[in-house]
């Protein structure tokens, strides 16, 4: 670790903590391997997103205040989830008492791949990953944080997450028919609009399966959990992974 | 209070802060305007034809009722503008002059100075519009600059024949209006 390395607070969304510890471990180790000083504040809970998206933003002031107190002391806050980062940045309610801290937090919270490309200025990770993958761009990272160009806008093409993987030996990234359509997770949408949610997930998986993809790679475990749930139920052979797991596995 | 008063009062009561009105800048246009125009018209299911091709077409099809207000094709006209537009319901072909066109989308501007009757380009079975090469402009911004503050009671941009895709998104030409659009560039 570099001596003057900035101090990063690792934010692990609640369902990753409970269901996907390996993704959290990979995120932590990857940042450490890239020379960062990383701390996981043990008291952390949730950013409040599920409640806000369900229409209860006003009821999340306590959760939000706690989040600010847990993380404001770090130089940067990094999370392996675009969706939660977007929530903290844009949708968490204003806490007047903690105004300065909240502003610091909102200006310095990053999704993992954008932190690596934009703050650590790493162009790409070297290594080998001989697999055929499809990339699922999760909507909140894509159209909220602008982690990549989307198919709707007429803008130069870029993708911060795939940029990090572009030099991996043997990696084949498949072009999907619907490049960045939503997988249908959508938080409470997954249960309140169950029928459409599942149909969207099936369609998203089918697009990858049709192209002979081995692994669907994404940056938001909520979307992956939803698609994995459908793939398992439908006995699809396809695998799903968070990009942090791949990068942490290949990096020397 | 009249509805006008109540609507205006409701808006005024909001005391909205005025937002700025942007100026519209110039944008680059195609270098070969005739080529770009032809391409756009084809996409809209119209076709560019030469004078000779048009004359040949008229000779081949033997249309019974032809109306032309274009001096270049005056000799083909065999009817007068009727009192009531419904009397043009059996018009086979109309040949009219367009003022100018926009290459980006093939739209041709016509106003009342080109239309002896507003219904003509719509009611005719087939439509021919004649434009001058030098009157092909780059885009719609240039077209509106050309229109400027003219005061015609009616004006229209026509960019193709009448068409629809309302049945399972299959494109069908000739919904209600002209079943074909040919453009002669002189």
């Amino acid at each position: 670790m570099k001596k003057d390395a900035p101090h990063i607070g690792l934010f692990i969304p609640c369902y990753i903590d409970q269901f996907y510890p390996n993704v959290a471990i990979a995120s932590l180790e990857l940042l450490e391997k890239l020379g960062c000083k990383v701390t996981y504040p043990l008291g952390q809970t949730c950013c409040g997103q599920p409640m806000s998206n369900a229409g209860f933003e006003s009821k999340t002031t306590d959760t939000t205040s706690k989040f600010i107190r847990d993380f404001a002391k770090f130089d940067y806050i990094v999370a392996p989830s675009g969706s939660c980062v977007l929530h903290v940045k844009e949708h968490s309610p204003k806490i007047d008492k903690l105004k300065k801290n909240q502003e610091h937090l909102q200006a310095n919270i990053y999704e993992l791949s954008e932190f690596i490309t934009d703050v650590l200025k790493v162009d790409s990770i070297k290594g080998s990953f001989p697999h055929k993958i499809g990339f699922h761009a999760s909507c909140h990272g894509l159209r909220g944080l602008r982690l990549a160009s989307d198919s709707e806008l007429n803008e130069p093409v870029f993708n911060k997450t795939l940029q990090l993987m572009k030099d991996l030996e043997g990696l084949e990234i498949v072009e999907l028919t619907r490049k960045d359509e939503c997988c249908g997770f959508g938080g409470t949408f997954a249960v309140s609009e169950e029928a459409i949610s599942v149909q969207m997930g099936k369609d998203r998986i089918a697009d990858h399966v049709d192209k002979g993809v081995e692994i669907i790679v994404g940056g938001d475990m909520s979307c992956i959990m939803h698609m994995q749930g459908i793939a398992t139920r439908d006995k699809e052979k396809i695998q799903l992974m968070h990009f942090a797991e791949i990068l942490n596995q290949v990096i020397s | 209070m009249s509805s006008k008063e109540s609507i205006l009062a409701a808006i005024k009561g909001l005391n909205m802060e005025e937002k700025p009105l942007p100026e519209i800048p110039d944008f680059a246009v195609a270098s070969d305007l005739v080529e770009a125009y032809t391409h756009s018209l084809n996409a809209n299911k119209g076709t560019v034809v030469s004078k000779v091709e048009l004359e040949q077409m008229i000779a081949d099809t033997g249309f019974a009722k032809i109306y032309s207000s274009s001096p270049s094709f005056a000799s083909y006209s065999n009817c007068e503008v009727p009192q009531h537009p419904a009397d043009f319901a059996d018009l086979d072909l109309a040949i009219i002059e367009g003022q100018f066109a926009s290459a980006e989308n093939a739209a041709i501007w016509l106003d009342e100075s080109n239309l002896d009757l507003r219904a003509i380009p719509f009611i005719t079975a087939h439509l021919v519009i004649v434009i001058r090469k030098e009157n092909i402009l780059g885009n719609m911004h240039e077209a509106y600059q050309r229109i400027g503050a003219t005061k015609s009671g009616f004006g229209v941009f026509i960019a193709g024949p009448s068409k629809t895709a309302d049945i399972e998104q299959s494109l069908v030409v000739g919904a209600h209006g002209a079943m074909s659009l040919r453009v002669v560039i002189l």
Binding site: L28, E181, G229 | S3, S6, M16, L21, A119, F122, F157
Partner: protein, 451 residues
């Protein structure tokens, strides 16, 4: 019925639902292809957005300007506070003309005002002349899409209704054949009609003119053959200058269908000699929406339908599932402003994926407004069941101990509960999806041991 219930029904016919999804996706793709041919596309969207923002911020001024200039041109301008008054104004004009049959071209506003039933009640025959509109009128259905009103129907459905109404050959599903039959049928109606009604795409304050865009030419066929033209517009359809049309006409058709422009774009400034031209300016709740700051800019909408074509929910649930005049994403932010209770499920019929906001040619932040409506709706609903469970969850998340215990309990109980309970059909998650495999320890436990 609520949106999720309607959507579930729609998805039951798998083949048809997939066809609907694919068909609209193709329209979205056509849009993508065209917009990439315009390097200044994003600049145009920004201009359009600013022009509309500006107009809305001075709407009273521009409305008066429009009225003044239109009146000077010989247009008779009327104001309607609501749908009823709009219908009354039209009814009165028709009574004066002793008119018993009208032709109408596509207008979402007259749909919103329920003009057709009003006129039919008065014994007036209303003929919708847009092909798609005519089809659904035969079927007594509302439009399921604002640009492609019959997009939910297959050609076999259309063939059937045409066979019944227009006596076309039974079983002939050829779109060319069917369109031609409609052409002959509607021509007759055009030639007879004395009054034609149209909507308005844009009205220009500076010149007092208004613009109507169609591909079929049905609006023009109607108005140029009739003696009286009645045009109906919502008060938000205004733009300040004629040259602003350059921006909007470049955006509208490209966004709607991927065409570079609609084939007919008619500018009406004054009536033909001896004829009459009426323009009705309709409020019907628009000033209320204008007053809601968070939702004000939904009034920038130019009704291109792009947000519907791109919406993964709309494509998989169909326009009728929304139960509102304007369906899809824009409908879901407009309708709660009209009746929050009735349309309370619409803002939740979204994953907030944001695709709608990025295709919108006037840059309405549709998905952010969906989020905002959710906040309004839950506030108005008070402590519903969902509200309580969410408060409970908030309580858990605010206390790390409670969170850890409940997480542990959740993991423990998932392990011990039989699959039949977890995957009970009443459990919405488990109906079509498995739950993740459970790790032996949480990250928090791992971290405490390893760091």
């Amino acid at each position: 019925m609520s949106h999720p219930e309607n959507a579930t029904v729609f998805l039951k016919d798998k083949a048809r639902a997939k066809w609907h999804d694919d068909t609209l996706w193709i329209v979205r793709q056509k849009r993508d292809v065209t917009i990439h041919q315009i390097p200044e596309w994003e600049k145009l969207r920004e201009l359009a957005s600013q022009i509309k923002d500006h107009t809305l911020s001075k709407l009273d001024f521009y409305l008066e300007e429009l009225e003044k200039n239109a009146t000077a041109n010989g247009i008779k301008v009327h104001w309607a506070e609501n749908a009823e008054e709009h219908n009354q104004i039209i009814g009165k004009i028709l009574d004066e003309k002793k008119c018993k049959a009208i032709v109408k071209s596509k207008s979402i506003l007259t749909e919103e005002c329920h003009l057709n039933p009003f006129l039919e009640e008065k014994g007036i025959e209303v003929v919708d002349t847009d092909l798609g509109e005519r089809i659904i009128q035969f079927l007594k259905q509302p439009p399921s899409h604002i640009v492609m009103p019959a997009i939910h129907l297959k050609k076999s459905d259309i063939s059937e209704i045409f066979h019944e109404k227009l006596h076309t050959e039974k079983g002939n599903v050829d779109p060319v054949y069917l369109t031609h039959a409609a052409r002959l049928h509607l021509r007759e109606k055009f030639l007879q009609a004395k009054v034609a009604i149209t909507g308005v795409n844009f009205a220009v304050a500076e010149t007092g003119e208004f613009v109507v865009c169609t591909n079929e030419g049905n609006a023009d066929m109607g108005v140029h053959l009739a003696d009286t033209h009645i045009a109906c517009m919502g008060i938000e359809k205004l733009i300040p200058r004629r040259k602003d049309l350059g921006v909007f006409l470049r955006l509208l058709a490209r966004s709607a269908t991927g065409q570079s422009i609609t084939n007919y774009n008619s500018h009406f400034r004054s009536p033909s000699p001896g004829k009459e031209l009426h323009l009705i300016l309709v409020n019907n709740g628009r000033t209320k929406q204008l007053a809601r700051e968070k939702f004000r800019n939904s009034l920038k909408c130019i009704r291109c339908g792009a947000c519907m074509n791109t919406c993964p929910i709309y494509r998989r649930s169909g326009g009728f599932s929304y139960g509102s005049t304007v369906p899809g994403p824009i409908g879901s932010i407009l309708s709660p402003g009209i009746d929050m209770k009735k349309y309370s499920t619409l803002p939740f019929a979204s994953t907030l994926c944001g695709s709608c906001s990025d295709v919108c040619p006037v840059k309405i932040n549709i998905h952010e407004q969906l989020y905002e409506w959710r906040q309004e709706i839950t506030k108005a609903q008070g402590s519903s069941l969902k509200g309580l469970s969410m408060k409970l969850a908030n309580g858990i998340f605010k206390s790390p101990l409670a969170y850890r215990i409940s997480g542990k309990m959740m993991r423990a109980s998932l392990k011990t509960l039989p699959d039949s309970i977890i995957y009970n059909p009443l459990n919405a998650w488990g109906k079509g999806r498995n739950l993740p495999d459970l790790p032996s320890e949480s990250f928090k436990d791992w971290y405490k041991k390893n760091r």
